[in-house]
Symmetry: C2
């Protein structure tokens, strides 16, 4: 059974998820596919009233039969996962693997960073196009995929949800500042003018925490804004309905001038 | 404060949401923007240990100052909302209205039908394009918007999440069968061949419930499949990665032949 832990800390899990974890024979957990900086394993174990075994990326990806699938043949296993469980490809693969071996799986959903960021940005969920992740550059090589996705969505008037690379096991995460610097540095694409100093963007920090921060404005302004701790996410708006524009002003502190040219 | 109730019933709320609702001076709830067919108000009240006032669409949309905003000036108000709170436009508007009057708002996220359906379908979240809703036809007029959105996404190789119209207050909801019949009936668009009897589609019923049902196959097959009770949702795949194709076979019961022509 896959149970989503939702956002931020051990209080993000649903009542249904907590109840099923309490009834399980074995509770395992992975915390590397997404950042839950305030998750307390101790408090989680107290609530579930049993030990929780934390799996590494290697254990879940290379030794999944030993640590998960074989266990689930003999007893009721709950795998706790950050956010909503089937968003990371890893978990879909584990699920397929288990089902193929005749194990009936089940999913208990949790709040996801995907809808949390869409909602906090004040933009309308159905107007988001394809989403994308900005990866850490490999040496000198900077991926132009995020740039292309933003451009394609904008041509259709759609918003882009931009995830920033996280290496939770190394305690390393990309900040909004890092990401905007990367997106502005692609000399070869500058002529397209998709991400310039004046492009409207929305920084969302700590979605799901008690102290989330949303700030909308031109790239040059957001680049220098201090968003505090992780996780960080970005949204590049396409065309704005007047309620969306108002949300960016009231909830994101955007100046009216920054929204010019984005009206629907 | 906006608190997401997550999916299916009163057990979908997070521990954080439950705790805050328990501390609130006034707890109100709306159940019309999304279908939670198994929500028990009684059980919800028992868990929160206080009465929950249910608002109608009219009260939340036309008399929001009286029923929500004015109350929140004097005391701590929690508005319980199906799914993740800021997905429906109504709640974004209420939030903007409150903030403009100097009331500090907060959002406690919940599991959403958006990521639940994406995850259950076995398709990868970042490959979904714009989503769309199939509305009930108005007399003879059938909207061609869903058809156009599916076509545009598919041209880019992207999947489309298709919500089906719900009129929770009338107890009326569109089934997968209704929606496929509507999408197949657009004579004027048939030449485009976007939704034909052979088009691959995925029906997802009761995402978030204990008995969700996922079935993938050609429209002619899914149209005649009995999905049982609501809520119903559809996904139209774009191009499939081999893990996605495997998921549709193993988790959605699709025949290999139905997946032909969709490989990435």
């Amino acid at each position: 059974m896959f149970v989503g832990m939702g956002l931020n800390d051990e209080q993000g899990i649903s009542l249904r998820g907590l109840e099923l974890a309490s009834k399980a024979d074995l509770v395992i957990c992975e915390c590397y596919t997404s950042l839950m900086p305030r998750l307390s394993l101790e408090s989680l174990q107290t609530r579930i009233r049993k030990p929780v075994k934390v799996l590494s990326r290697k254990q879940l990806e290379d030794y999944v039969d030993e640590f998960v699938v074989e266990q689930a043949k003999k007893k009721m296993v709950v795998l706790l996962v950050p956010g909503d469980p089937m968003i990371a490809t890893t978990h879909i693969s584990v699920r397929i693997r288990a089902e193929k071996q005749g194990i009936r799986t089940r999913v208990v959903h949790g709040a996801s960073i995907v809808t949390a960021v869409m909602g906090l940005s004040g933009l309308q969920n159905y107007k988001f196009g394809k989403s994308v992740t900005v990866p850490f550059p490999k040496g000198e090589v900077v991926s132009d995929v995020p740039y292309q996705v933003i451009a394609e969505n904008r041509m259709r008037g759609l918003h882009t949800l931009v995830f920033l690379d996280v290496r939770a096991e190394e305690g390393r995460y990309m900040t909004i500042r890092d990401a905007l610097a990367i997106l502005s540095s692609l000399e070869s694409l500058k002529s397209l003018g998709v991400v310039t100093a004046e492009t409207l963007t929305i920084g969302v920090a700590r979605a799901g925490a008690d102290d989330p921060l949303v700030r909308a404005g031109p790239v040059r302004e957001i680049l220098n804004f201090d968003f505090g701790g992780p996780p960080h996410t970005l949204v590049f708006p396409g065309r704005l309905h007047f309620v969306e524009a108002e949300a960016l002003e009231v909830l994101g502190g955007a100046a009216k001038s920054a929204l010019k040219g984005y009206a629907e």
